[in-house]
């Protein structure tokens, strides 16, 4: 883990470095803020066991890159302009060799923990933490661990009410850490069907990006509508 590997041959090894192997963790940084992107790149480049494959500013650029090059861990900012980090997480997980995904967000609270679970992200790290926490989380998920905060029970039950019965079952299993492949076996539904279920659930639960949030709030006010006829 401590040796510095910089030769290109490492890039062609399996997507997830097995435990104990000393191949470096190939990291993809996705953040639309230049200073944060730069900071993440430099932080990871300083780690002897990390290799930064690229640092990109959008979900589309991240997908294009991940389709070309094997990635071990994608560190994804939650807010990415029009497509958020959860969207990217679900897309990355559909790749033939899916990378592990760490969502890096300012708001690491219950709602995002719940939606991260549905987006099949492996980690959720606060932007308010120290750099060492982030590096530790990247290492942990690279080795197959999960770093998601727990969803408070009151919030989980409030969220469940937005889902139908089958979605609630899927949500419960995801919260319990059961991988998607096992869920489709247990519920005897096809993986394609589970896939579309997960998209639906994410739309129902998902925190929408801020621009559509503003649009939604800009609708005319009830009071105004009622006030006009006089």
């Amino acid at each position: 883990m401590t040796a510095i590997h910089e030769h290109q041959a490492q890039v062609d090894s399996p997507a997830i470095a097995p435990d104990g192997s000393d191949s470096p963790v190939r990291v993809l940084v996705v953040d639309d803020h230049p200073a944060v992107r730069m900071g993440l790149r430099e932080l990871f480049e300083d780690q002897p066991d990390f290799v930064v494959v690229a640092a990109v500013d959008s979900a589309d650029a991240a997908m294009a890159l991940a389709e070309r090059e094997p990635i071990d861990v994608a560190v994804v900012d939650y807010q990415l302009g029009s497509r958020n980090g959860l969207w990217l997480s679900r897309k990355l997980k559909r790749l033939p060799r899916p990378p592990r995904v760490v969502i890096y967000s300012a708001y690491c609270d219950g709602p995002l923990a719940a939606t991260s679970v549905v987006a099949e992200a492996d980690g959720l790290v606060s932007k308010g933490g120290v750099g060492a926490d982030l590096c530790e989380a990247v290492r942990a998920v690279a080795h197959g661990q999960v770093r998601l905060p727990t969803v408070p029970p009151a919030l989980a039950s409030a969220l469940r009410r937005r889902l139908d019965a089958e979605e609630q079952a899927i949500f419960g299993m995801l919260l319990a850490g059961i991988p998607a492949a096992e869920i489709s076996l247990m519920l005897s539904i096809s993986s394609a069907s589970l896939e579309s279920r997960l998209w639906t659930m994410l739309r129902k639960l998902e925190a929408l990006p801020t621009d559509s949030m503003a649009v939604r709030r800009a609708r005319p006010h009830n009071g105004r509508r009622r006030g006009t006829p006089i």
Binding site: A158, H221, G227
Partner: protein, 355 residues
Amino acid sequence: MSAEPSQRTERRRYVPLLYRVAGVNALLLFIAVVVTIAVLSPKRVSSLHTDEEAIVLGVALVLVVALNVYLVRRVVRPLEALTALARRVDLTAPGQRMPPASPTSEAGVLSITFNDMLSRLEAERREATGRVLDGQEAERLRIAQELHDQIGQELTAVLLALARVERRVPPELRQSLLEVQDAVRGSLEDLRRIAVELRPEALDDLGLESALAVLCERFAERSGLEVTQWIAPGLPILTPEAELVVYRVAQEALTNVARHSGVATARLELARRDDVLTLTVTDSGRGLPQGHRPGTGIRGMGERAALIGATLAIEDAGGRGGVRVRLDVPLDEVEELEEFESLDGATPREVGQAQ
């Protein structure tokens, strides 16, 4: 809201119209009779006839006065009621009106006009309040986004840079660096808290129930106030405006509990009774102070409530002490017909992603 009645209107400094009309008419009749008798037939004046004429005159006087009183009363009564209503009318509690009148008299027309004026004032006020609150929410959203997108991101970048530097600083500077790091993290934390208070993100994203759950959670974290939640299952989805009102009232009420009640627990309930959705926030603290006057926060809650046709009550919570804030939202006006509000924010490309 209603101003104190001015000195001029409060004390009556005039002789009421009723007495003036009746008095003047009686006097005129009296003079007319005396003049008739004295001028037109002075020779017929005799002591015998005088008594009879005095009786006729007296009866006529009484009749005139009675008729006057009756007619003038009919005119003046509604005016008195109008004055009383004008004194007590409160635009924050809309719906107070004169009883229906027909436009067959000046007073009737005045009543109708007065009711129309109240309707107009209430509408204008509702519109103005709505505009102010909309503007306030938009401004809060803008500030919250700016805080997050600008300062928050830059502080994050500073933290990342500090994390890098940390490995290279000489040991004697290490302590100082850690202090700087802590200070930046503290600022970032404050900034986030302010942004969240300004703008309940969870409400936009996840709906009222989840947002209330997150709100209670945050209160527990930040102020140590333990909030028991009871949210009835199967509640309808409200319009965004109504959700925001319910959320802001809960937020303000919990803030008040944390600040003033002196206890560490509160109970938040959201339930439906027939066509009314009721939010109650109850604490078991020291209750409302004597001669309690609502502060700006509570008045703001009331204004918001009025905007969606809801009513707000702040009362002592039974015999145990404490305060209960209760918001009743009539559902016929604020129920959202769409199944999931957040879907209209999803663009077709997102909908088409499932494979």
